[in-house]
Amino acid sequence: MKKILNTLFVTLPDTYLSLDGDNIVVKQEEAILARYPLHNLEAVCTFGYAGVSPGLMGACASRNIDLTFMTRTGRFLARVIGESRGNVVLRKEQYRISDDDKRSALVARNMIIGKIYNNKWILERATRDYPLRMDTDRMKKVTASLAGAMQQVREVEDLDILRGLEGAAAVQYNSVFDELILQQKKDFYFHGRNKRPPLDNVNALLSFAYTLLSNDMKSALEAVGLDAYVGFLHRDRPGRASLALDVMEELRGVYADRFVLTLINKKLIHGKGFYRKENGAVIMDDDTRKIVLKAWQERKQEKIIHPYLNEKMSWGLVPYSQALLLARHIRGDLDEYPPFLWK
């Protein structure tokens, strides 16, 4: 597999990025703060827009460096994409599948199997590792029902039934998610998912991690020549990267949720790093966001064995390898889409 390079996260709000030779230069009011060679970078992600020179945009596009603009609170704004890569034939086949509910369901169900499978193993691992901290009986019941759901999903050929099963499995998993938080329970608890806006610290972290993951997923899909905005499970909606959301389903738990749990359980972040707005919305402070981004980048470098490819790679390449496998399936090289089944 290819190498994973660095992502440059620019968190200072009023910095301007420009190109100098083969380097990216970070400026603040004409003062040069930093300079990095482009060949070491895979992505640049800026929070708090000040600007990027057109020269740098072009250099990033031609070198396949993903350039993303986010708001200060970590919401996605825009991405610079070069000439669209890949074969129109591949994209047209993607669109044909997307237009065909049954064919969409056959791909989407494997992603949902991946999601349920991974979530089940998250719970089983936790029960095995911390039997004294968990309500073991309750966990066992949930994992048993997730195992049953997987068998059902395997037979589904209808998108609506699939969405129903997926929703029910998510409710099961969420019902015990709070048990996985083993430290700092006063500040970090989970009583259900909320996102617009996140109403507690854990939801704020989850939303942020999902945004980071969906960025990586979008660029991975575009890199293999797929259209990140045309999905199978998630229907088309302007501005929504439906295919990225589809493939993300199987990675949310194992990639983002576990990442958030590690931050809390290893006490890398603290309740003081969050503040609550008047309406209950929870926002991370700048220092906490920096800690999260640094940890995210480190997580991407950690090595795993890919379950289907049976190849050692870093976590950061998992979105790319799944995008590649999906493209291979759409092209007809693989009999089905192999989801990422982690254990």
């Binding site: 597999m1 494997n110 499978y117 496998l325 291979r328 693989l334 089905e336 089944l341």
Partner: protein, 219 residues
Amino acid sequence: MQDYNEEDYLLLSGIQHFNFCRRQWALIHIEQQWEENVKTIEGDHLHRKADQPMIREKRGDKLIVRALPIHSRELGVTGICDVVEFVRDPHGVPLAGEEGTYLPFPVEYKRGKPKRNDSDHSQLVAQVMCLEEMLVCDISKGYFYYDEIKHRVEVMITAADRERGRTSLQEMRHYFERNHTPKAKAGPHCQSCSLQHICVPEILNKRSVSSFIESRIAE
């Protein structure tokens, strides 16, 4: 003889990819996938020297032209010659704006040193055939300039070479028209392929995805 439409010309540079590996060629020329590695960057760097279309040199009885766009309607290919040397020759052909008659010889720049296999060879053959068609002349040879040994190697072009060139171009066109990416024949050459991470040659030898999923969820 059928003439190809300009829109459907194949790229000359693809011949070398095609002979190296049919799948590599299809990934680049059909699927438009590309990934840089050290070798491709070295190659780019080397071609910067050759890719200077505005430089035209005269040295004695030689006229040296860089980055010359060429094509063949009969073969349906187009591309650029790194360097073409026009040598004054009584058996040559007249050139617009030049006195006397000349014979053209293509010079293809290559990184590294002469290779044992002939994956480069057929690209030069095709260049010769293009030049012959465009200038209406017969060309007996071309050259490779190897960067590592800083030396050029003369290559004689035979009738059998031309025939092989035609055959592989037909095969390329066959895949191209069907938009078909052939499966990989994995081998030691995969190690030096810049697309190994996109191709993932082993993928086609793996067990079926169905049995992978079934066995995992049955655990």
